[in-house]
């Protein structure tokens, strides 16, 4: 009797401890970014591109990296969603979700998920050499899309698999084709989860430095075409942190703050945009 109560207490304690650990880490990271980054924060940071000698502590900002990251992530998200969503809908609507094909596909995505992003970067770089391309926004988009694809596909899959079979049959029974059912019923029912899955993959994509190191390059200019190199926030943070000047290092923290705010902003915007559509979901 007392043993059972002690057991209950022990596990409650463990759960509390892990919660404190997770929330604590988040608070610590945010705290460090805020404390170290806020003093270096200025309007110039988000409205100016780096001027000569920016990395030595002279004036300028990281507009190039902000826009570069936004374009890159937008392109990569659209591209990987355009590949992942049809795959996932096919596996769950056209084929039986437990078929051998589905299991094999899931396994492949799980393996791809485990590949370090630097490998995607190197793979992209090899392809670039093969096609004679230079480091460019396009190459970066392709590398990041590859990195995001397994994350997006597996998260989408988990969400779409939760759509009750009855719901599909209700739609079929009214004379809907599989395509109509997938688009009008499955996507709608799974929408909140789909948004989460996309945001999850996007968060990984926008924060990744290794995959874009060789493929997107780095430049002080804002890219105006897909074939120009593009700067990205993670690399901007990396380069600024790598300088020996405390003032520039502080700007690295300010850049990290900007990156965090950008991700938060995108997440909130997506939630707000889909809120109206989500109210009909059957629970």
């Amino acid at each position: 009797m007392d043993l059972r109560r002690a057991e209950e207490g022990l596990f409650k304690g463990l759960m509390l401890a892990s919660m404190v650990l997770v929330l604590g880490s988040l608070a610590l990271i945010l705290g460090v970014i805020l404390v170290k980054g806020l003093p270096a924060m200025s309007l110039d940071m988000i409205t100016q591109t780096p001027k000569g000698g920016y990395y030595l502590g002279k004036e300028g900002g990281i507009l190039n990296a902000i826009l570069g990251s936004l374009w890159l992530t937008l392109g990569a998200t659209v591209l990987s969603l355009a590949i992942a969503l049809p795959v996932v809908l096919y596996l769950n609507t056209w084929r039986d979700a437990r078929s051998r094909l589905a299991t094999l596909t899931r396994l492949s995505f799980d393996i791809l998920w485990g590949i370090p992003s630097i490998v995607y970067g190197a793979f992209g770089f090899t392809l670039m050499l093969l096609f004679g391309l230079r480091a460019s926004l396009l190459a970066g988009i392709l590398a990041i899309a590859l990195l995001m694809l397994p994350i997006m596909a597996r998260s989408l899959d988990e969400v779409v698999r939760m759509v009750p079979r009855d719901l599909l049959e209700a739609s079929y029974a009214l004379g809907a084709t599989r395509w109509e059912t997938a688009v009008r019923v499955v996507v709608r029912q799974a929408l909140p989860g789909l948004v989460t899955a996309v945001l999850l993959a996007m968060g990984r994509g926008i924060g990744d430095a290794a995959a874009v190191l060789f493929t997107a390059g780095f430049t002080d200019a804002v890219p105006t075409s897909l074939l120009q190199p593009a700067a990205t926030l993670p690399l901007a943070i990396f380069f600024q942190l790598g300088t020996p000047f405390p003032a520039v290092q502080a700007r690295a923290y300010a850049s990290a703050l900007i990156l965090t705010v950008v991700i938060l902003g995108i997440s909130l915007a997506c939630r707000l945009l889909t809120r109206r559509l989500v109210k009909n979901v059957v629970r």
């Binding site: 009855d166 719901l167 029974a173 009214l174 004379g175 809907a176 109210k279 009909n280 979901v281 059957v282």
Partner: protein, 253 residues
């Protein structure tokens, strides 16, 4: 005058992998009557019902042989799209399953699929079928609110209205009241009695009293085989086969 035959089932076999779900079913289902399929759990009632609009073959590993005629049309004939069959033969599922959209859009979903775009026409269909489902008075002021907010009994009537909106000839009902409270069940049963004026209804039930209340025609299945079929008076009043007698008296279930 004997009723016309609406559905003719000939030598229907359904296999799951290598085991039989249904063996050589041959039956006639009369038009504008309620045909009730009874039998113990796992006897293939639902499989037979779902064969009639080809929902069984949406799953992998299921093989169907034999013929089913709806009127003159054989439903496995590759010349006809399966969606055409399902439009003619609607289904009311065991648990109400509203689509993730508003009440209005749930009912309009079917007609829109089949090409009705005109707003006024859709409005008319929605009102008409919700009245047929005896739900109109309860929802007419909140047609554009989520269907999932309705009570479970209301949801089932919504699903009935949604099925009627595509103007089927046949309604398949898979234990349509088993998830409902007695009051809602009664409501649904009354709808069936009114609807059989215009529709052929095929219903699976495991509630014998419900079968006796509603049935005009009865099919009794046992372990995937059709044991006995006939009018309700014949089967309930004077069952011929020993298994039917045992089932009706509650010796097997």
């Amino acid at each position: 005058m004997p009723p016309e035959t609406h559905l003719r089932i000939r030598d229907l076999c359904v296999k799951y992998g290598s085991s039989y779900g249904l063996k050589n079913i041959t039956a006639d289902i009369p038009a504008q009557r309620i045909t009730v399929i009874i039998g113990p759990s796992g006897c293939g009632k639902t499989t037979l019902l779902r064969s009639l609009n080809r929902l069984v073959d949406t799953r992998e590993g299921v093989t169907v042989s034999g013929q089913i005629f709806v009127g003159e049309q054989e439903i496995h004939d590759p010349a006809h799209y399966v969606t055409e069959i399902r439009k003619r033969v609607g289904l009311l599922a065991q648990r109400p399953c509203p689509l993730p959209m508003s009440i209005y859009d749930n009912v309009a979903y079917g007609p829109r699929l089949h090409g009705t775009r005109d707003r006024a026409t859709l409005d008319r269909i929605v009102e008409h079928t919700l009245r047929e489902g005896a739900l109109w008075e309860e929802v007419k002021d909140r047609l554009h609110t989520p269907a999932s907010a309705l009570s479970i009994g209301q949801q089932q009537r919504l699903c009935l209205a949604r099925g009627l909106a595509v103007e089927p000839e046949v309604l398949l009902c898979d234990e349509p009241t088993s998830a409902l409270d007695p009051h809602s069940s009664l409501h649904i049963e009354q709808r069936f009695l009114a609807l059989k004026e215009r529709y052929t209804i095929v219903m699976v039930t495991h509630i014998l009293r419900q079968a006796r209340r509603l049935a005009d025609h009865v099919l009794f299945l046992y372990l995937g085989e059709l044991i006995e079929q006939g009018s309700a008076e014949e089967v309930f009043g004077n069952p011929q086969h020993p298994l039917t007698r045992q089932y009706l008296s509650g010796t097997i279930s």
